[in-house]
C-alpha cells in the first residue's frame, strides 16, 4: 500500500521538544491561518493523512483539530472534513496575530528588565526595529 505524500500535508512535528505534539500542530495551523498561508475555506488534510504521513497517533491529530474547532479557527464541513473558518481571517486575524507575537515580546520584556532598560527606551528600540524591517 502506498502512503500519501500529499504536498498539502505541510505540518512538521518535532518530538522531544517538551511541547506536546498536538500543541505543536495547533500552533502551526494557527500561524498558517494568521499569515494567510491557509485561507478561509481552505480544506485541511484528513486526520488519517496527517497521522500516517507524520507517523503520529491519529488521536493526537483529532485532538488538535477539535481544539482548533472550539477556538473557531477550523470548522467541520460535511463531506469535506475540516476547513479553515471564514471568520478566522479578517478582524479576528489581527487579534490572533498579536496573540502569536505576545510570547516573543514577553521574553523581550523580561530581558529588558534584566538589562535595566527603561520602558521608553525599549519601546523606541522596538519601533526602530519595526521600521527597519519594513
Amino acid at each position: 500500500m502506498a502512503f500519501p505524500r500529499d504536498p498539502k500535508v505541510l505540518f512538521v512535528v518535532s518530538p522531544s521538544m517538551g511541547i506536546p505534539i498536538y500543541q505543536q500542530l495547533v500552533d502551526q495551523i494557527k500561524r498558517m491561518v494568521a499569515s494567510g498561508q491557509l485561507a478561509g475555506g481552505a480544506p485541511l488534510p484528513s486526520v488519517r493523512e496527517v497521522a500516517v504521513t507524520l507517523a503520529i497517533n491519529p488521536m493526537t491529530v483529532s485532538k488538535a483539530y477539535s481544539l482548533l474547532e472550539t477556538q473557531g479557527v477550523l470548522s467541520r464541513r460535511r463531506g469535506m472534513g475540516m476547513v479553515v473558518s471564514q471568520d478566522a481571517t479578517g478582524t479576528q486575524a489581527i487579534r490572533d496575530r498579536l496573540a502569536l507575537l505576545r510570547p516573543t515580546l514577553e521574553r523581550a520584556a523580561e530581558e529588558a528588565a534584566q538589562l535595566h532598560i527603561d520602558h521608553g527606551a525599549a519601546i523606541a528600540l522596538f519601533e526602530k526595529v519595526l521600521k527597519g524591517k519594513r
Binding site: 517538551g18 505534539i21 503520529i56 497517533n57 493526537t60 485532538k63
Partner: protein
C-alpha cells in the same frame, strides 16, 4: 468485551535470587497505546514475557484478554501479536517458509498485507533468515506479528535494529493498523521520540515496579526538579506532591499545573526547573 486487555497484579519474578519484578501492578485498557519506558536491564522484556505467559511468575496474578497467560486458549493466542526483542526465528528457513509455517497456526491470516509489507520493506522471500541483516529480521518479525490481525500487539523494542527511516516507516505501519482496527498496543522502547509520536500514555518501569503511568500530553509541563531548603521541599507534601527521587536540597516530582502557581507564590525558597520527558526519565530511574 473485556475492558482491560492486560492486568498484572502484584507480579514478582526472580532470576537466580535476583528480584527482577517486585510486586508489579500494571493495567492496559482496550484501545490504548502505551509506551513502556525503562533502562536497559530494568526488566521490560521480563515483564512482557510474563504478560505473554512465556516466563513463569514467582507471585501475583496476570490476566491476558481475560485468561491466565500460562494456560492460554488457542482462540485467545490468535488475538495476540508479539514482536520479541531478539528475533531468533527459524534461521534455516526462508521468509516464505517461515510465514507459511506460522500461517498454519492461525485462523486469520492476511496474505495481501503480508505480500504488500514484504514488497514495501524489500524483504527477500527466498533467502535463509540467518543470511538476513538484523533490520530485515526485525521487519520480518513485525510482518509475522501483524499478519493474523491481532487485537493486542506487544512489541519489545520493535524498532531497535532499524535505522531512522526504517523506524519511521514501521511507525507508519503501526498507525495504519490503529486507524483501521480497534487495536491495543503495548510497546517497550528507550527511544523517546518514537514513544512521543505514537503512544498516548507512558509507563515507566524502574526497580521492578511501575513507577508512573501517565498521559503523555498531560505530563508535559508537569515534570520538575525542585531545589530549596529541606523545609520548603517537605512542604510540597501538603499539596500531595510525592517525589520520585529525593536528595539533600533537591527532589524530582510531578507537580500538576493546577498547583504550580500556589506552590511557587507561597514559598520563595523553592525553585522549580522544568524537565523534559527525557531528563525526567533519566532522573527518576537513577
Amino acid at each position: 468485551m473485556i475492558a482491560n486487555v492486560l492486568e498484572m497484579r502484584g507480579v514478582s519474578k526472580s532470576f537466580d535470587h535476583r528480584l527482577v519484578l517486585d510486586q508489579l501492578d500494571f493495567t492496559i485498557k482496550r484501545g490504548k497505546i502505551i509506551g513502556l519506558l525503562g533502562r536497559n536491564g530494568a526488566g521490560k522484556s521480563t515483564m512482557l514475557d510474563c504478560a505473554l505467559g512465556l516466563a513463569r511468575i514467582g507471585g501475583g496474578e496476570i490476566s491476558l484478554l481475560g485468561e491466565n497467560p500460562a494456560a492460554l486458549s488457542e482462540a485467545t493466542r490468535g488475538r495476540v501479536g508479539y514482536v520479541p526483542q531478539q528475533t531468533e526465528l527459524f534461521p534455516w528457513m526462508t521468509a516464505s517458509q517461515m510465514l507459511a509455517y506460522f500461517k498454519a497456526f492461525y485462523e486469520k491470516w492476511n496474505d495481501a498485507k503480508v505480500a504488500a509489507l514484504l514488497d514495501r520493506w524489500a524483504i527477500p522471500r527466498e533467502i535463509k533468515i540467518q543470511k538476513m541483516s538484523a533490520g530485515e529480521k526485525q521487519r520480518l518479525a513485525i510482518i509475522r506479528a501483524l499478519a493474523h490481525e491481532p487485537d493486542f500487539l506487544i512489541l519489545d523494542e520493535p524498532a531497535s535494529s532499524l535505522d531512522p527511516a526504517g523506524r519511521r516507516d514501521f511507525l507508519r505501519e503501526v498507525i495504519d493498523v490503529v486507524i483501521d482496527r480497534d487495536v491495543t498496543i503495548l510497546f517497550s522502547t528507550h527511544i523517546l521520540s518514537d514513544l512521543e509520536r505514537v503512544a498516548m500514555d507512558v509507563s515507566i518501569l524502574s526497580a521492578g515496579k511501575i513507577l508512573l503511568t501517565a498521559e503523555l500530553d498531560s505530563l508535559a509541563g508537569e515534570t520538575f526538579v525542585a531545589t530549596g531548603s529541606e523545609q520548603a521541599l517537605t512542604s510540597l507534601a501538603k499539596y500531595g506532591v510525592e517525589p520520585f527521587r529525593r536528595e539533600p536540597g533537591q527532589l524530582v516530582a510531578r507537580i500538576p499545573k493546577a498547583i504550580q502557581a500556589s506552590v511557587q507564590t507561597e514559598d520563595h525558597e523553592l525553585v522549580l526547573d522544568s524537565l523534559s520527558l527525557e531528563d525526567f526519565f533519566i532522573e527518576v530511574t537513577k
